[in-house]
């Protein structure tokens, strides 16, 4: 079966895609980048703020890259951007754009905004989620027309748990922040711990209101004085207190999670597999380092243009079908071709594990096997997903 499928694919390739590019027709493709600006509230650790245009700059670079390619194919890509801190405005804008004929959307919004937009637009809209790591979007909502380029929290924490297992750091103290996002990150880690046989020896809720910049050395040793652990896991997505846990724990142990050793979609320390070139291009374009949101937005734009290039069509239905097909491959600078899971539209991708100055490892770790694709050891596998197609 496998062989005949392959033969068919290569026959298609030879028939349809091997023409030299002089035979291409003119195409214009507009992609809409909508950003809901989130207010994460005040944080204690405000030394290194996240860039405000995280995501946007990645989408812009994706357009630039696509146009350099498009020039040879008579394809022209453009980006329309919209930004607001009010969910209702972002949703209204998405509807207005759809009604005016727009079909390609890259969203950097909350998961509830994304859900509302998906329900408001027609079936022929192609939406990339480049802003929400929410597990529910991948597991339960399963919006038909949505692709997720940002890894889910489940993927991130699975990547981390595999590494912990490989290093035999399997007794963990958890420290969880108070926001909903922190709770979601902590639950994702608990699921991962269960899957990979990691033991949680103690779990603590962070609810201090003192200024840790001054008292971390006093407060944290006591706070982390529990049953002995190999490693401390921190769930603090917005970066409120997590930075102060490092080097201040009761037992001198490494810190992992949202601070310390972190699983990410992208980071400036990723430089293998040609990534150095993407980093350089991005740095030249944005005058700063590329973040996970930038990478996710870039991957969304590049997925559209890759499909347009290969199908020679800008019809959103044809583009979407191609992106979902076995033929789709995205060179994402992560050492292997990337494609989307058919059961929930999640971009399969290796997850770098980084500290601020170097790449420590990349998951999936060796030895974590899967019957069809090792990348599917990260996040929700087919059987766990409740979508009815």
């Amino acid at each position: 079966m496998n062989i005949s499928k392959k033969t068919l694919n290569s026959a298609l390739l030879l028939a349809g895609f091997s023409l030299s590019t002089s035979a291409y027709a003119n195409l214009e493709i507009n992609i809409n980048y909508l950003n809901q600006v989130m207010d994460n509230g005040p944080v204690l650790s405000n030394i290194l703020p996240e860039p405000e245009d995280s995501g946007l700059r990645g989408a812009e670079l994706g357009i630039k890259d696509s146009n350099t390619t498009g020039r040879f194919l008579k394809q022209k890509y453009s980006l329309n951007t919209y930004q607001s801190d009010a969910a209702t405005d972002v949703i209204a804008e998405a509807i207005r754009l759809y009604e005016s004929g727009q079909r390609f959307f890259v969203l950097n919004t909350s998961s509830s905004t994304l859900n509302k937009i998906e329900k408001s637009l027609g079936d022929d809209a192609v939406i990339f989620n480049a802003g929400s790591a929410d597990d529910q979007l991948r597991k339960e909502s399963c919006n038909a027309g949505v692709f997720h380029t940002l890894p889910s929290r489940a993927m991130l924490t699975d990547a981390l748990a595999q590494w912990l297992k490989a290093k035999r750091l399997d007794e963990v103290l958890m420290i969880n922040g108070g926001t909903e996002d922190d709770q979601a990150y902590a639950s994702a880690f608990k699921r991962a711990a269960k899957r990979f046989g990691i033991k949680i020896v103690a779990e603590k809720q962070w609810d201090f209101d003192s200024d840790l910049r001054r008292t971390a050395q006093k407060e944290l040793p006591l706070f982390t004085q529990t049953k002995e652990y190999d490693v401390v896991f921190v769930a603090d997505e917005r970066g409120d207190f997590g930075e102060y846990v490092l080097y201040n724990t009761w037992y001198p142990r490494p810190v992992v999670g949202t601070q310390g050793l972190s699983p990410v979609a992208w980071h400036r320390v990723v430089e293998q597999w040609g990534a150095a070139q993407l980093q350089k291009r991005f740095n030249k374009h944005a005058k700063r380092w590329m973040t996970s949101e930038d990478y996710a937005a870039w991957a969304g734009v590049r997925s559209v243009s890759e499909a347009v290039t290969r199908t020679k069509s800008s019809d959103s239905k044809i583009v979407e079908e191609y992106i979902r097909s076995d033929n789709f491959e995205l060179a994402g600078f992560k050492g292997r071709k990337l494609n989307y899971r058919e059961w929930n539209g999640q971009l399969r991708q290796p997850i770098p594990l980084v500290h601020p100055r170097s790449l420590v490892s990349q998951s999936p770790q060796e030895g974590f096997l899967h019957p069809t694709n090792e990348l599917d050891t990260l996040g929700f596998d087919k059987a766990e997903v409740k979508c009815s197609k």
Binding site: S20, F72, L73, A331
Partner: protein, 323 residues
């Protein structure tokens, strides 16, 4: 009978001692050491390590083997080394971040891919004059000039194309879309066929030069290696038209392909992350650079087996043999 058996090694010894058959040397660029390692192919020892510019990648010789051209990527220059004195005698204006290049059969015009600038730069090596800069796709990489000198080709890794350049007008004449992340291009000796590897696509496209159409695609399968780890990079053809060798990157194997039937004959295990290759002068040996293991594997072509590995610097990238 005994006599002839005895004679053979003597004859071989005489050959070696004769002044005509000088020791062959392999030059290897070490990307993360900023050096060139020199391997004596008789003793299989590193006999010299020469400091060069930053991040040396592509290397090649002038026709008479008197000069070595070096893409010093992070120094943004192509260096010219006098092989007698081992001194850098010239730096050519290469454009930013030169990665790979090819020398026109006229022995003068160097075609250089500038990875950061989406350009191909053509430099006259004698006058150091930039003859032309041609816009190509994102991350230009592989570079080759046809042996008949008429066409230059460049691959762009993120645009996924083979760009065809007319060497008389310096104009882009056509593009051929190939699989993800095309790396290396190699012409057949008669200039009629082009081999182009796609690292992430995992394929090698074989292209008819006249029509610029792909007429055959090679897929590789190695037992025990996940298909995604099979990432073709370097391609090297033997002059007799018998074999094509394809370096498969992190699959740590070199594929041996029948260059006439395009059948994959076998896979030879080499060091880790095998990148580029070159043949010795009589084409009995194939040398491969292995980035992660930091060594060069020597394949005996009659046995199709790696018979030796020679430790060089960090991240060996290119290799060229000087007779």
């Amino acid at each position: 009978m005994k006599f002839t058996k005895l004679l053979k090694p003597i004859a071989a010894a005489v050959m070696l001692a004769s002044p005509v058959a000088m020791a062959e040397l392999a030059y290897v660029s070490n990307e993360k050491d900023d050096t060139i390692s020199v391997i004596d192919l008789d003793t299989m020892q590193v006999t010299d390590t020469i400091e060069v510019g930053e991040r040396p990648r592509g290397i090649l010789f002038s026709k008479d083997f008197s000069k070595l051209y070096i893409c010093a990527s992070d120094s943004d220059t192509v260096q010219v080394m006098d092989l007698k004195t081992k001194q850098i005698i010239k730096e050519l204006p290469s454009g930013e971040d030169p990665e790979q290049f090819a020398l026109h059969p006229n022995d003068r015009h160097l075609y250089i891919s500038n990875e950061d600038d989406a350009l191909v730069t053509i430099v006259d090596t004698e006058t150091s004059e930039v003859l032309a800069q041609i816009d190509v796709g994102v991350e230009p990489e592989g570079m080759a000039v046809s042996p008949n000198g008429k066409i230059a080709v460049n691959t762009s890794e993120t645009t996924n194309m083979v760009h065809w350049i007319d060497t008389t007008t310096y104009e882009l004449i056509d593009n051929t879309l190939v699989d993800q992340r095309p790396r290396h291009v190699e012409f057949s000796k008669d200039s009629k066929i082009l081999w182009a590897s796609s690292e992430i696509g995992g394929t090698v496209s074989i292209i008819d030069v006249d029509s610029r159409q792909i007429f055959k695609k090679l897929n590789f399968e190695i037992k025990g290696v996940h298909p995604d780890r099979v990432q073709p990079v370097g391609v090297r053809l033997t002059d007799d038209g018998k074999y094509a060798f394809v370096a498969l990157g992190p699959a740590n194997h070199v594929a041996v392909v029948d260059a006439k039937t395009y059948e994959i004959l076998e896979y030879v295990l080499v060091g880790r992350r095998v990148w580029h290759m070159d043949l010795n002068t009589d084409q009995t040996k194939l040398l491969t650079t292995n980035g992660i293991s930091g060594d060069v594997s020597v394949i005996d072509i009659s046995k199709m087996k790696a018979v030796k590995s020679v430790k060089v610097g960090r991240y060996p990238w290119g290799v060229k043999v000087k007779s």
